[in-house]
Structure formats: structure tokens, C-alpha cells
């Protein structure tokens, strides 16, 4: 905790493997005392605070295709683990087809920190406050993971186990996240509520995505995820259920927002109280849902 913060980083060994195989092997062989890093914005802070004390920090920035960001109409958007948030925000396909991801990323921290922070890093950090995680969940993001036994895919939906805890095993390196090709007419909104206007950690974050869907009674599929109000980033399935089953109107949106409020499980902390967070989930869900609804109706 902050009262124990040291003036500088503790001693550790910087390791830069040449290949993914080498990196996974090293991490597995030194399990419990080695950690992969890209931007370091979480790692360095925690090491300085004495929360983490790994003997090895493994720089994976230059491995494989981790620096690539690409969009293909069939595969969708693939964001390498080392692609910094500013690059993601500026990427044309993101701006045109996944604009809610850009909105969420732009709300993070500061320009300087976004030069180092990454979408994948945000995900692996598994903070319930992560701004971009909700979008990735709602867009059915899939992680590409390189482990000691090669590559595999991990759907985001089952990835988060608790605050700071994921299903990754020793030796695993997430190499990229893939967001499938966006549905036609995708609309989205990320509302982040912090203490300052921007740059704060989210007290509450609401992500909403929606698209026209003729197979739904309402004609639309609308999904909602919450940040900072549960141990993990939270997708509220009931919102989707309410807004797909009948004609969408203000009453339905209010009902969905109420469901979001009931689903969340916030705590009191230095940033806000549980009581306030719950009410903000309701109010900001109404705002975000209404916004997306209006985008869809245009």
C-alpha cells in the first residue's frame, strides 16, 4: 500500500527472450518469480509499492506479431499485445468499425500513459475497473495465448476469475486479442464516471453495444457491461434479455438499467461508496442505453 511505497524500483533482472517459445519456457521454468510485461504501467507501480516482487521481468514487446494491429473483413480486428492504446485509438478500422473501443481507450489515463498501456495489458491486469474490458467482452473478444504447449484461444467470457485473477497458467503469454467482424450497424457507448472529468480510474464504467437483429422480438440486440462494481468486469445478461424481448422504449430502458443496478455488487473504497455506485450504474446505464438506442434508430 502507498504508505510503504519505495523511492524507486526494487532490484530485479530484465530478460528479453528472442522467441515466444523461449519466453513461455522461461516463464514456466521460473513460475512465481517471473512476470511478462509490455508497457509496465501496472507492473512498475506495484513493484514500487512492494505489492509485487518478481525476480524477473520478461519483456515480450518485440516477439512475434505482438506489435501488429490489423483488420480483415472475415477475421475481424486483431490487436497485438504490444500495440499501445494510442495506436489502437488512431487505427482507421477502429475508428470506423469499433468506435466504442476508441471511446473506451481514450478515457484511460493520459496520453503519456496510453503510449505505454495496451488493450491486452488492461485485460491481463484483470482489474474490475479496466475501461476497455467491457467493450472486448461485449464484442465477444477472443484471446490468442501462447503457452508452453503452443497456441490456443481463450474466449474472454470465461477469462476473468476475480480481481487481478485470470485463467492464464505459468508460461502463458497473451499474444493478441481478436474482435470478430462487427455486426452490421454496430453502435456503442462507453460512459466513465470518475472524480475528475477525465483521467481518473472509473468509479463506475458502463459499456453498451447494440446492433439491429431481425431475429429478436425488439429488432435489436443490446448488451451492457459494467466496470468497477463487481469483482470482475460484469456483463449483465438480463439487460440483453429485457431489450431483445419487447419493443424498446424509455420504460424498457429504465427497466434494463434497474436490472443492471441489481446485478452489480460494488464496494466502498477511497473512490466511492457502494450506495453511490449502484445509483450511478442505474443512471449511467439509462444514459448509455438511450444513447445507443438513439444511434441505432437513426
Amino acid at each position: 500500500m502507498s504508505l510503504d511505497a519505495h523511492p524507486g524500483l526494487p532490484e530485479f533482472e530484465y530478460v528479453k527472450p528472442e522467441t515466444l517459445a523461449e519466453a513461455s519456457q522461461f516463464l514456466a521454468a521460473h513460475r512465481g518469480e517471473a512476470r511478462p510485461f509490455v508497457g509496465g504501467t501496472d507492473v512498475f507501480v506495484r513493484m514500487r509499492d512492494g505489492v509485487w516482487s518478481d525476480r524477473y521481468l520478461v519483456d515480450i514487446k518485440c516477439l512475434g506479431d505482438l506489435n501488429k494491429i490489423a483488420f480483415e473483413p472475415l477475421r475481424g480486428l486483431v490487436i497485438g499485445a504490444a500495440v499501445n492504446m494510442n495506436r489502437v485509438i488512431a487505427f482507421q478500422a477502429v475508428r470506423e468499425k469499433y468506435s466504442v473501443l476508441a471511446e473506451a481507450a481514450e478515457s484511460c489515463a493520459s496520453y503519456q500513459l496510453r503510449t505505454r498501456a495496451t488493450i491486452v495489458g488492461n485485460i491481463c491486469n484483470a482489474s474490475p475497473a479496466g475501461d476497455t474490458i467491457g467493450v472486448c467482452l461485449l464484442l465477444d473478444g477472443i484471446l490468442d495465448v501462447h503457452g508452453t504447449d503452443g497456441m490456443r484461444e481463450e474466449p474472454l467470457g470465461s477469462f476473468f476469475l476475480g480481481p487481478g485473477k485470470t485463467s492464464l497458467r505459468p508460461g502463458d503469454i497473451v499474444t493478441s486479442i481478436r474482435l470478430p467482424a462487427p455486426p452490421k450497424g454496430l453502435a456503442g457507448r462507453y460512459i466513465k464516471h470518475g472524480r475528475n472529468k477525465i483521467s481518473d480510474l472509473a468509479i463506475v464504467g458502463v459499456t453498451v453495444v447494440g446492433c439491429p437483429r431481425i431475429d429478436q422480438a425488439s429488432g435489436y440486440r443490446i448488451r451492457l457491461a459494467l466496470a468497477s462494481v463487481a469483482p470482475v468486469p460484469l456483463v449483465v445478461d438480463e439487460v440483453e434479455a429485457i431489450l431483445s424481448s419487447k419493443k424498446i422504449d424509455a420504460k424498457g430502458i429504465a427497466e434494463a438499467a434497474q436490472a443492471a443496478m441489481s446485478a452489480c455488487d460494488p464496494i466502498d473504497d477511497v473512490r466511492g461508496s457502494a450506495r453511490y455506485r449502484r445509483l450511478m450504474v442505474r443512471n449511467l446505464s439509462i444514459k448509455a442505453l438511450t444513447d445507443v438506442w438513439e444511434q441505432l434508430r437513426k
Binding site: I198, S199, V270, L284, I286
Partner: protein
């Protein structure tokens, strides 16, 4: 001095010259303490601190730390028995038998690297006996509260501070004026309120830092980010049993102070460690986290206000009680208590006053001076009560203030008379600029708009004999060197000094240099850079020194030219005679004098001028009644108004626009004066909306920039206007008085009053975070 028309004001007074140190700072060449190079003799220090808010020290074992390779010195309180303090000596450099706040220094380590010093801390064992802490100032004054300073009666204290031994009260300032008890019955309206103002911290961008070295002769040099080189010299010398001249303090550029770098805080630790480091310099820097809980913080305040007025709105009585959460040591904080006491009515004329201002020890971080010195904390609640009182009798808040605010000649709470002041003008300016009385529609159906106003006053709070001095000398190249002891921590004192010297001497501003860094070995004495006193006090000294040079120059020239000084002048760096039209550049006689008229010998020589200024007529105040003829040197007054919106969905406050007007007497550099008004306003907004040093059981919960929020570039108001009012200060240079602190004083209550105007709620204290505003609206039924 005196009432001067603009025609009599010499260049460059009143001109917005570019600051003298701007270029150096913008190219990264300006040196701050951590930039100084000391070579490989430099040792790095870290401090082992108390993990308890209140405990007795039973045993300290430093043997393992001493044995760690690379560790060169380990010191404890056993080595330093002396007490230290500015107004009350209640602090020791390292704790000897008792720790009084989480972070209290217990052991100091110097090593060849900061990392090794840090590792050494873990090898130190300290056994404590935990004591019950005092965590609230109102509880702290009760008879059952544990005593934090049982030896209070033994502490040396200045004669205007009144501790109550056997209690946790380190100062009790009283106002007893008129007959409050029998006046309430005459009041048509009474407001009685309690306000809780939490602790905040200065958050200077540059954390505290000090480098100290003691040479073989025992002489100490201290380099530090300091507002008070001379006070540090004085206090540290006394504490170590040295004489003042055995300590030399050098202060390079200061990366923000706001009061946190006044007096002595961590600098004494560096000096103490250095005395055991065998001649090697020792650098101690605070981490940002330590800056939050071990450097000075702004005291918390629990304020009880009771005020009443008659049916026409005239204030009749006030009964105000302040319980200051002074923290573990109140050597500085006691004077904040006093200042709030003698200002406790706010800038109003009130015939009947009972005021009690208590400085209370608690086991919290150390309260110290912060911009406004008690005024922001006090006005926070007071100006809200004024609004409430006005609205209660159906009077417009601006009209109420118009009626009751101090004017020239008004009777003050301390019994004296108000000097010439432009307070009313300031109030009129801000009301007009904010379009008081009209209401624009909110920007959206889920927003509510409101306007609020507040006025303020503040005097420089200092001992009655706080002095300034300056020297001015000429160089062979025509440059003018000005020596000052006051610091430029960003407020622009060096620039102002240069402008004033230039004006008083008759040289271009560009030819003046300030002899910086301030170095107590070479710089002239200055009490401290605090209290918004430099423009006025140091300014008088600089002007005096420059005029001394001018007099000497004219004298030499007169003798050399066979003329009289009255016919001579210095204009733009050139000495001219109006009579003979002779002229010569100043540089020609700054060092080498002038030849005698008959060619046989020389007149003059190296010219150096001196100036000194010290207030002479501040009288004491009666300890029982707080009454006295002249309580303070003068007051700066002012007003601010804000227009804001409240978001009904989230409670978030958005400041649409702000206006400020302050009576500075004479703006030596108008743009720099406005820059102070702007910076103070934003710091005021930040303290109103975001800032809160969250204390729980004596522990700061948010000692970092992630969770202690300050205003960023996107949090500033859409529009901010600053107006300069000039009602001259009769003893200030060209009428000038200070402005540095005042713009942070009325901001919070102006915002609070605007929130009330918008949604009809008042909070017991800041910050007016979105959460607090929203939940208050919810509980009041304004939102669901």
C-alpha cells in the same frame, strides 16, 4: 509613496514584464535542489517512520542496519535532544520517547545509494507501546482525551500564543467584544451552523528535498527547496545548539511551495543525519507518498458559527468557535489558529463578537501553513452562513454584503479601524461581471444552474517584527545586481523585485539581475517567503536600497560635475543633468567613480545601496479580549463569483465561469497579479470539488496522486475573469500589497453558495464531490 497618480509612477511599475526566470525554466536550465551535482561523495538518506498514530518508543535496535555494507550513518533521537519550532517549540528532530503521527521520524539512515538506505530501514527494529490516539479536535479538548504533549508547559513559546498546559490545546485565541449574549434577542434572524473542513495537502509538483553537509569545523550547509532559508537557519541552529552563522542555507529554484516549504519540516532531518556523516553531503528526498503524509498538510477544521442580524440586514452579533485539527505538532499551526481568531468575523463590521479559536493536538499529520493561512478554511463556512442569513430575511446576498462589508474606517473585530480598502469595489466588479440577478437557462434538462458569490480578507500573519532587507550594486557593464532574501517559488517575486529596483533607480528592467539562489551567506535577511508579504515588505527594502544607490550616484556625479543632485537624474540607465545636459552611462561610475573636476583625484567608488524594512506599529492584542489598536500590518480584500451547473444524474459540478477581483493596492506587474488570481482560483476549485486527505484511524488512505485528485487541464472553468482593484497601501511600494494567497480564499464558499442557488442544498463540508452532491440531492428528495 502615498496616493500617486499614474503620471508619477515610473517605468516599469505597472508593466507586465516577462518574468526574469521564464527562459531558464522553459529550457530546462533552471536548477532545483535535486538537480545540483555533488559528486560521488553524496550519500542518500531514508527515514524509518512510525507505523502508529500514537505510541511510546520502548527500544530501537539499529545494529543490523549499521552493519549493512554501504550504510554510512544511522541516527536516532538519542543524538538530538533539542526542540524545534517557529512559534512553539514542541517538536524534536527525531522522536525520542514518543511518536505522535503515522510517519513521525524515528531513525535516519544515510548510505551510498537510496536503495541501500531503503533496504537498511527493514533491518531496524523498533518496539512500541501503542497508545490511544486522538483523532478529532473536539474530542481532543475534552478532559478524557489522552495527552499528546504532556510537557506542553515546558515548551518555549512566543508571547502571542497561549497554550493551555495539561490539555491538548496548544493555542487559544479569544475575541470578547461587546455583549453577544444580550444581542441575540435583538436579532431578526439568526443562523447557527457547523462546518467540517477536511485536511488537504499543498501538492507542490516538486516534493520536499534537502541536502546537508557538515564540514570539519562544524559548519553546516543546507541546500533545500525552501521558502524560508533564514528561518531554517535560525530554527535548526537553535535546535542543534549552534549559532545562526554556523549554518548556511542555500535555496535554488523552488518547484511550488504554497506554504508547505515554509518553516522547517524535513530539512532538519537531513542536517541531523549530516552531522554524523563525516563531512559527506547527505540528500534526503520525500517520495510523493511521503509528501502527502509526512510533509506539512493543511489543518482540518470544525467550525461552529452563530450569527445574527436585525431586520434591515445589519449584522449585530457573531459567536464563532473553531477547533483546529492541528496534528501531532503545532509549532507553526498555532499561528494559523490566531490568524483565524483575529479574522473570525470575516470582512464585516460586527459590533458584538465572541470568538474562540483552538489549536488542538491530534495524532494526525502535521498541520502547517497553506495558501490562505486559515482564511480558506474559515471563510468556507462563514461565507455560507452569510448567504443563509441574507436569504433568511429575504435579502439578496450581494446586497447583504454591500451593507455589512468593511469600508474605509469600519471598526474591526479587533477594535481598530479598517484602512482604505477597495472591498466594496471588488464585490461590485464580480457581481457585475457574473451578471448577478439574472439566471441563464441550464444547458440541458438534467442540469441546474446557479450563481454564488463570496468575499474575503486576509492580513499577512507574522510576528510584529518580521523584517526584510536588500542590497543593490552596480557592475562595470551597467548591470544592476539586486540581493534579496525572499524566494521566487513561481509567484514572481524576483521579477517584481527587478521591476521595483529598475523603477527606483532609473534603469531598464532588462539590466537588472537578481542575485539568486538565495544564500544566507551572501543574501540579505528576509524573514520568510510567506504571508503574501514580499511585494510589500521586501519591495520596500528593495526600493530603499535602489534609492540609496541612486542617491549615491547623484551625489558622486554632482561632486564630479560641480552641480547639485537636484538637477541630476538617472533615466534608462543614463545619468543626465537637466542643467548642463551632460550625460554618461551609469556603468561609467558604478565601480570606478568619476574624476574630480580639477583632474586631481577621484570621487566615488564601488556603489552599493542597502535597504531594510520592518513593520513598526503592530500592537499586541489583549489575551482575554483580542482587542488592540493595530492587530496586523494591513489587509488584502477581494471577492469571487462563480456560475456553475449541477448534473442531476451524477451530482457532478461544472464551473461554467468564474470571476475574481482583489484590491492589490498597486499591480506592479498586472499580468502576474492576474496569474496569481487564476492559479488561486483553480486551486480553490480543486479544493472545493476534489481534494480530501482521507484519514482513518490516523492513517492517510489516499497518499498518492491516483486517489488524491487535483484539478487537471480539463477541470478548469470555461471562462475566468480577473479584475485588479487598486486602492493604494499607504506604506507599500507605489501603493502595492500582496495577492499570492487571497485568490484561493473565497472560491469554495462561492461554489457552495452557487450549489445552493442551483439545487437548494448545502453540505457540511467539502469536497463537493459528485457523490456527496448526488446523495445529498437524493436524501433531500430533489432526485430519485
Amino acid at each position: 509613496m502615498g496616493r500617486a497618480s499614474d503620471a508619477l509612477v515610473p517605468h516599469p511599475i505597472g508593466e507586465s514584464k516577462l518574468r526574469i526566470d521564464g527562459r531558464d525554466k522553459a529550457i530546462g536550465a533552471a536548477l532545483y535542489t535535486d538537480d545540483l551535482q555533488f559528486g560521488n561523495a553524496l550519500l542518500h538518506a531514508r527515514i524509518k517512520r512510525s507505523p502508529h498514530p500514537h505510541a511510546l518508543i520502548k527500544r530501537i535496535d539499529v545494529s543490523k542496519a549499521r552493519a549493512l555494507p554501504g550504510v554510512k550513518a544511522v541516527v536516532t533521537g538519542q543524538d538530538f535532544p533539542g526542540y524545534i519550532g517557529l512559534y512553539l517549540q514542541d517538536r524534536q528532530i527525531f522522536c525520542r520517547d514518543r511518536v505522535r503521527y503515522v510517519g513521525d521520524p524515528v531513525v535516519g539512515v544515510a548510505a551510498i545509494s537510496e536503495n541501500i538506505a531503503e533496504q537498511a530501514l527493514d533491518l531496524i527494529d523498533v518496539d512500541y507501546v501503542v497508545l490511544e490516539p486522538v483523532l478529532d479536535p473536539e474530542l481532543g479538548v475534552s478532559a478524557q482525551a489522552p495527552l499528546i504533549h504532556p510537557d506542553l508547559e515546558k515548551y518555549a513559546v512566543v508571547n502571542f500564543i497561549f497554550p493551555e498546559p495539561g490539555t491538548n490545546i496548544s493555542n487559544h485565541f479569544k475575541i470578547r467584544k461587546g455583549d453577544v449574549d444580550n444581542t441575540w434577542g435583538q436579532c431578526a434572524s439568526i443562523v447557527e451552523r457547523r462546518y467540517r473542513i477536511p485536511h488537504i495537502q499543498h501538492v507542490p509538483l516538486e516534493p520536499h528535498i534537502a541536502v546537508a553537509k557538515q564540514d570539519e569545523l562544524g559548519e553546516v550547509t543546507l541546500w533545500g527547496s525552501s521558502q524560508s532559508p533564514f528561518a531554517q537557519r535560525n530554527l535548526i541552529a537553535k535546535s542543534l545548539g549552534l549559532s545562526q552563522s554556523e549554518i548556511r542555507v542555500v535555496s535554488p529554484y523552488v518547484g511550488g511551495g504554497f506554504g508547505s516549504k515554509a518553516g522547517v519540516s524535513m530539512e532538519a532531518l537531513a542536517v541531523a543525519i549530516a552531522t554524523r556523516a563525516r563531512g559527506r553531503p547527505v540528500k534526503l528526498r520525500l517520495t510523493r507518498e511521503e509528501e502527502f503524509y509526512t510533509a506539512f498538510v493543511r489543518q482540518g477544521l470544525v467550525a461552529h458559527f452563530k450569527m445574527g442580524c436585525d431586520a434591515s440586514g445589519r449584522l449585530l452579533a457573531m459567536e464563532n468557535k473553531f477547533y483546529w485539527d492541528g496534528g501531532a505538532y503545532t509549532e507553526y499551526g498555532v499561528n494559523i489558529t490566531r490568524a483565524a481568531g483575529y479574522s473570525c468575523t470575516g470582512p464585516y463590521e460586527v459590533p458584538n463578537v465572541r470568538g474562540d479559536s483552538y489549536c488542538v493536538y491530534t495524532n494526525h499529520p502535521v498541520g502547517g501553513p497553506m495558501r490562505g493561512f486559515g482564511m480558506p478554511e474559515m471563510h468556507a463556512g462563514l461565507e455560507q452562513c452569510i448567504d443563509e442569513l441574507a436569504l433568511q430575511i429575504g435579502m439578496d446576498p450581494v446586497e447583504f454584503r454591500r451593507l455589512n462589508c468593511l469600508k474605509t474606517g469600519s471598526t474591526l473585530v479587533t477594535g481598530g479601524r479598517m484602512h482604505a480598502t477597495g472591498l466594496l469595489q471588488c464585490l461590485e466588479k464580480v457581481s457585475e461581471a457574473i451578471e448577478w440577478g439574472s439566471k441563464a437557462p441550464p444547458s440541458a434538462p438534467t442540469k441546474r444552474r446557479g450563481k454564488g458569490v463570496a468575499i474575503m480578507w486576509k492580513a499577512p500573519a507574522m510576528p510584529p517584527n518580521a523584517g526584510s532587507s536588500a542590497w543593490v550594486e552596480l557592475a562595470e557593464d551597467g548591470q544592476v545586481n539586486v540581493g534579496v532574501g525572499g524566494q521566487d517559488m513561481g509567484q514572481g517575486s524576483f521579477t517584481i523585485a527587478a521591476q521595483m529596483a529598475a523603477a527606483a533607480l532609473g534603469v531598464p528592467y532588462e539590466s537588472v539581475r537578481i542575485a539568486a539562489p538565495v544564500d544566507t551567506r551572501y543574501s540579505p535577511y528576509e524573514w520568510q517567503t510567506v504571508a503574501s508579504r514580499l511585494t510589500w515588505s521586501m519591495g520596500n527594502a528593495v526600493v530603499s536600497a535602489a534609492r540609496d544607490v541612486r542617491r549615491q550616484v547623484l551625489q558622486v556625479a554632482a561632486e564630479a560635475w560641480g552641480e547639485t543632485p537636484e538637477d541630476l537624474d538617472i533615466v534608462n540607465g543614463t545619468l543626465i543633468s537637466y542643467k548642463s545636459e551632460k550625460e554618461t552611462p551609469l556603468k561609467n561610475l558604478g565601480i570606478y567613480g568619476l574624476p574630480k573636476p580639477d583632474g586631481r583625484g577621484w570621487r566615488g567608488g564601488p556603489i552599493i545601496g542597502r535597504g531594510s524594512f520592518m513593520p513598526s506599529d503592530v500592537t499586541g492584542l489583549d489575551p482575554e479580549t483580542g482587542q488592540g489598536e493595530k492587530a496586523v500590518v494591513h489587509y488584502t480584500t477581494g471577492a469571487q463569483a462563480v456560475e456553475l451547473e449541477v448534473d442531476l444524474d451524477t451530482g457532478r459540478i461544472e464551473i461554467i465561469r468564474g470571476v475574481g477581483a482583489f484590491d492589490v493596492g498597486r499591480a506592479i506587474n498586472p499580468e502576474m497579479v492576474k496569474a496569481q488570481m487564476e492559479g488561486g482560483f483553480v486551486q480553490g476549485v480543486s479544493s472545493a470539488l476534489y481534494e480530501h486527505l482521507q484519514l482513518k484511524n490516523g492513517f492517510v488512505q489516499n497518499p498518492n496522486l491516483v486517489d488524491y485528485r487535483i484539478a487537471t487541464a480539463v477541470d478548469i472553468p470555461g471562462e475566468l475573469q480577473s479584475f485588479i482593484v487598486e486602492v493604494p497601501q499607504d506604506d507599500g511600494p507605489w501603493g502595492a500589497r500582496g495577492i499570492g494567497e487571497h485568490s484561493m480564499v473565497p472560491t469554495l464558499p462561492a461554489i457552495a453558495n452557487a450549489i445552493y442557488d442551483a439545487v437548494g442544498i448545502r453540505l457540511e463540508g467539502p469536497p463537493f464531490s459528485a457523490e456527496k452532491v448526488f446523495l445529498a440531492m437524493l436524501d433531500a428528495g430533489i432526485v430519485k
